[in-house]
Amino acid sequence: MLKLFITGIVLGILAAAGVLYAYPAVDQHREPSLLKVAPNGGTTELFHINLPDDRIMSRSPGQSASVPESLVWPADERFASAQFGVYKLRNESDVVVGLAARAAASEQSGALVEWVLHLPARGSQFVSMQTQPPASGVRSGVLRAGSREFDNRDGSVTVRWVAGVAGEQNAPDGRIELKTSYIGKRSGSE
């Protein structure tokens, strides 16, 4: 009886250790990466944000109402001109694959337009955009930094607004399209 009990203890310890060793405590859901090979080398990937559905948070100085409506913006006047938006990010198949944030500030506090794309199973990208809106309507930027899959990547990003069309169910207001181009590894990296 005692031998069986002790055997059970050993088995219990081994089983618990084995389960913790073999079974992943975290298993992020992955959608296939829809990468395309660019004609001049490198790869491109297209993401988009359907509005208004994918807008999680939004606040800008000229906006009559924030999202969510009960958002309380900090009172400090230095943050008054800052624009922040957080969105769900979709791939070409219209499936949510991550999150995106856009920050913008006016000339008085140092002009900037920047994006952070966060794809939980893959990594994050930090992108600095042109601060002046171009006549073409397509704003371009550079990939400044990245993590994990996007670590040490050289690349660029273009962002454009595509107005919604009547009868469009997924994005009645329109959508923001982000096209990322990864050219290669940054010089000096492995």
């Binding site: 310890i13 089983a15 060793y21 999150l99 900037l112 952070v116 966060h118 930090f126």
Partner: protein, 225 residues
């Protein structure tokens, strides 16, 4: 039947013994303070309230202990983002005055290995400092010490809470000496390559709503010599 009962009982005791050993192993994740925390070369130190209700904005899948703020914030329920959280908070400088806004995306890491005392979170910060520019911070955090020292004792407590004084560095990678990598985005900080460590100081925690009194800190320094 006679043989199965002691075997099953022993098995359950074995599992319990293993759990006890894992959570009381002094060699797991007892990390010294990061060298970055104790070196000079300081660029800036930014503190923030780590309590969900005092953030500007916080959302997750809605099932986490950290309750979304405001309450009507859209939840992250889709499978690829379900293990993620986004928080926007005011960052204060050393005298405690608002210095900027910090947006943090964090996702549970697939590199988590509880057997080795690693409860990992991959996170990035976007830091906006008006008049100075912006920073991007990329890091992996280990919450094992926090879970072991605060969360588990809070669950064991009959009041479902923990009170005390806990301080720990969370950042463990990917930069040199276990620091986070910091990249300057715009303004005076553009092009700068820095290092950072995020730490957490907790004095009250509730098993129901998460941190009750807690302050985070981002210590940003020049690259370690």
């Amino acid at each position: 039947m006679k043989r199965i009962v002691p075997l099953v009982l022993g098995f359950l005791v074995g599992v319990a013994l293993f759990a006890f050993g894992l959570t009381h192993n002094p060699f797991l994740a007892k990390r010294e303070a990061s060298p970055i925390s104790v070196s000079d070369n300081a660029v800036t130190s930014l503190s923030f309230d780590s309590v969900a209700a005092r953030s500007v904005f916080l959302t997750n899948n809605g099932k986490s202990r950290m309750v979304p703020n405001p309450k009507d914030a859209q939840r992250l329920w889709e499978a690829p983002v379900r293990l993620s959280q986004v928080m926007l908070t005011v960052l204060n400088d050393a005298p405690g005055q608002p210095a900027g806004l910090g947006l943090k995306f964090s996702s549970r890491s697939e590199k988590t290995r509880l057997l080795y005392g690693e409860a990992l979170v991959d996170s990035v910060w976007y830091v906006y400092l008006p008049g100075r520019g912006s920073l991007f911070i990329d890091q992996t955090e280990n919450y094992w010490g926090f879970i072991n020292d605060i969360v588990i004792p809070a669950y064991k407590n009959s009041a479902n809470s923990w009170k005390g004084s806990w301080f720990g560095d969370l950042t463990i990678a990917p930069g040199a000496r276990g620091a986070a990598r910091v990249t300057g985005g715009s303004g005076a900080l553009q092009g700068s390559e820095l290092a950072a460590v995020e730490s957490l100081s907790v004095t009250a925690y509730s098993a129901d709503i998460g941190p009750v009194v807690a302050e985070g800190r981002l210590l940003i320094k020049k690259q370690a010599d």
